[in-house]
Homo-oligomer: 152 residues x 2
């Protein structure tokens, strides 16, 4: 049984999830950043991921953001510093525990979020073009499962 598993798993570069996910993630990020830059919006893919998770969850501590995005606390500090300087987010020290800073979108942050969404959709639409939409759905479900495996 173990032998069979190894057999199935025979390593092949072409189908290596590590490689293909790295390439896709890079392409999508660069593609989004290029689209935004051409409209004079200078926001990186990672900053965008923070903006969108904040839009979805409304209020998160820096540690929570890091956990959700797989980024460490130093990276989060830097991203929040930049986003706060641009007044897209604000830090609010928690009343119940002064170690925590709750981060939330400002009105300007919500505005930029809505401005960027169409470009994010565009990038994904390009990536998904001429691929069966059920296949894409199924693929994303499998990727979620893989991601769960990797986080536990």
């Amino acid at each position: 049984m173990q032998f069979r598993l190894i057999n199935i798993m025979k390593y092949s570069f072409d189908t290596s999830l590590g490689n293909i996910s790295r390439m896709i993630s890079k392409s999508l990020g660069k593609s989004l950043e290029a689209k935004l830059a051409s409209r004079d919006i200078f926001i990186t893919a990672e900053q965008w991921s923070v903006l969108s998770i904040l839009f979805q969850k409304k209020k998160l501590t820096q540690i929570e953001i890091g956990t959700l995005l797989g980024l460490d606390k130093v990276q989060i500090v830097r991203i929040i510093d930049i986003l706060e300087k641009e007044k897209f987010v604000q830090r609010v020290i928690s009343l119940t525990d002064k170690r925590f800073k709750n981060v939330n979108l400002t009105p300007k942050g919500i505005e930029i979020y809505h401005k960027i969404v169409p470009y994010a959709i565009e990038v994904h639409a390009d990536a998904f073009s001429s691929i069966n939409k059920d296949d894409i759905k199924q693929c994303l479900i499998t990727l979620e499962k893989i991601n769960d495996n990797l986080n536990h």
Copy 2:
């Protein structure tokens, strides 16, 4: 029709391919690097991708490596510099066009390749555990298609 597409594509962070592929690629890379480091093999995930593409294709120019892996020529120079210093690969100037340098694995490079493969398989097996193997196959096929879309 276009309206329907946009509707299907409604942006959701959770199912954002950009985010999930970034997280998976990072996890897999770090997981492999940690496994290797604990056995005193100090090779990064990117260096590994170069070793394995060279094992598969036997001989490639630096530009070809970059194209296959989605890395630019400067990154490739650096990786090949390191791998050459470790005597895992060698550069051979092309006889037909002196601008090109053909890169290939040395016997030591082939040896380290075979040494690393089991760890690469292990990392993927962890990622795929308890997921239906047909789903994984289908997922990888879809990712290949997405990757093709992004490269054209």
